[in-house]
């Protein structure tokens, strides 16, 4: 899908400084990375991709739809994975949380059960279907959060630091999962090595998009900025 930012700036009400300034970018690649320091604006950038944040000036369009007016239609096609799975999991048990994503989509109970079972099996959570979600390990929780998103088969998956709270093994697991997805992915991360085979990496610094290029060049630029 084509993602287009034109003249995007954003200020949160009540904060003295904007969090994002004059971002212009067109994204069509399958694997897009976003890196930058804390507070550089990358998280707000990610939230603009599904209209969770609507910019105070400029426009964001996803596949031709403006996030300002068509947020709901966009969110149906854009999945969003948060850093902390605990704030994303809304239902008490694992299977219920995945099934929650499929409500309001006009599916029968049997169809929902079938798709939930399939996605849980695909991500190694089949044995946990009826377990309370809060008793899963951190890695399993993030897999559950991802399963709950992927069960809706979004066209674009936006991930805001999905591995920041995870250990190396679970980080690897998420990275492998992401690598195997047919979807377009925008990954915001501090784990720079996850981006090695990405198509394009954006670097944010101090509310601006300061570099845009191949992974090696972008990571190099970011390292220099932080030196």
């Amino acid at each position: 899908m084509l993602i287009e930012f034109s003249g995007v700036s954003h200020e949160y009400a009540g904060r003295p400084r904007p969090v994002l300034r004059e971002v212009d970018v067109r994204l069509t690649e399958q694997r897009i990375g976003v890196i930058g320091a804390n507070g550089s604006g990358k998280s707000s950038f990610a939230r603009m991709l599904n209209g969770l944040v609507v910019p105070t000036s400029g426009t964001v369009t996803v596949d031709g739809l403006d996030t300002a007016g068509e947020g709901r239609a966009i969110r149906k096609r854009v999945g969003f994975c948060f850093t902390d799975p605990d704030s994303q999991i809304v239902m008490p048990t694992v299977a219920e949380d995945v099934a929650f994503s499929l409500r309001r989509r006009g599916l029968s109970k049997a169809e929902i059960a079938e798709r939930v079972a399939a996605v849980l099996a695909a991500h190694g959570l089949a044995g946990h279907a009826d377990h309370p979600a809060h008793l899963l390990s951190g890695g399993q929780k993030q897999l559950l959060a991802l399963s709950s998103i992927l069960v809706t088969e979004p066209d674009l998956l936006v991930m805001d630091e999905p591995t920041t709270l995870l250990d190396l093994r679970n980080t690897k697991r998420i990275a492998e999962l992401v690598a195997g997805l047919p979807q377009q992915v925008v990954l915001v991360t501090h784990h720079l090595d996850l981006l090695a085979d990405f198509d394009r990496v954006l670097v944010f610094d101090d509310t601006r998009l300061v570099f845009d290029g191949a992974p090696a060049a972008s990571v190099g630029h970011y390292r220099e900025l932080m030196a």
Partner: protein, 201 residues
């Protein structure tokens, strides 16, 4: 961590297969009927029937005890009080009825998925649509409330640990402020997560 909710134990017993509505209705009828109990023998029978239900549902005694234990904080003083004020027979009836009902309610939660129970509540709320109540939302609210309990317990633990790690004793205010701030932030994130998953109205 052992939480007081989300206690559903997957199984295929006769009780697991009963419809959630039937189980809830039984609970309501038992609750209403409990005022008719007058003699200790009747309470003993009631408790016996409920325990039989646990056997049918194949709940290990360990689990029954674990869910019963916190009740002792209330039941022991209550028993003492009732024995002194109303005599042992009255005490046996009152305390026995409470025990039977709590065990029955617990049996319902142990054998029924939360979402099935909530579906019953949503179904019951349908007539309220006429006065502008959206039953689906009532259900969502209940789900979120249940989900929030373990989340809040965890948050409280974190706050307490943070206080101890900084060398403070546990003071009410020092716990309350970060707890409220943390809860509000969680609520904010949960709102974002709901919107991201298509529940944005």
């Amino acid at each position: 961590m052992n939480s007081p909710v989300g206690l559903y134990r997957p199984g295929r017993s006769l009780l697991h297969r009963q419809r959630a509505g039937v189980k809830l209705a039984t609970l309501v009828v038992a609750g209403a009927g409990s005022i008719l109990v007058r003699r200790p023998v009747e309470t003993a029978v009631a408790i016996g029937v409920v325990l039989l239900g646990y056997a049918v549902a194949q709940v290990p005694p360990r689990v029954v005890w674990a869910s019963f234990r916190p009740l002792l904080w209330v039941l022991v003083p209550l028993t003492v009080f009732q024995v002194l004020v109303a005599g042992w027979q009255r005490a046996a009836v009152i305390v026995g009825v409470i025990v039977a009902l709590v065990l029955l309610a617990n049996l319902v939660t142990l054998t029924t998925r939360t979402s099935d129970l909530i579906d019953v509540v949503v179904w019951l709320c349908r007539p309220l649509r006429r006065v502008g109540v959206e039953p689906e939302r009532v259900g969502l609210m209940l789900n979120l409330a249940i989900r929030s309990v373990p989340m809040m317990v965890e948050l409280a633990d974190q706050v307490r640990e943070a206080q101890l790690a900084r060398g403070h004793g546990v003071s009410a205010r020092a716990v309350a402020v970060p707890l409220v701030v943390g809860a509000l932030r969680r609520a904010d994130e949960l709102g974002d997560a709901l919107a991201a998953r298509g529940f944005d109205d």
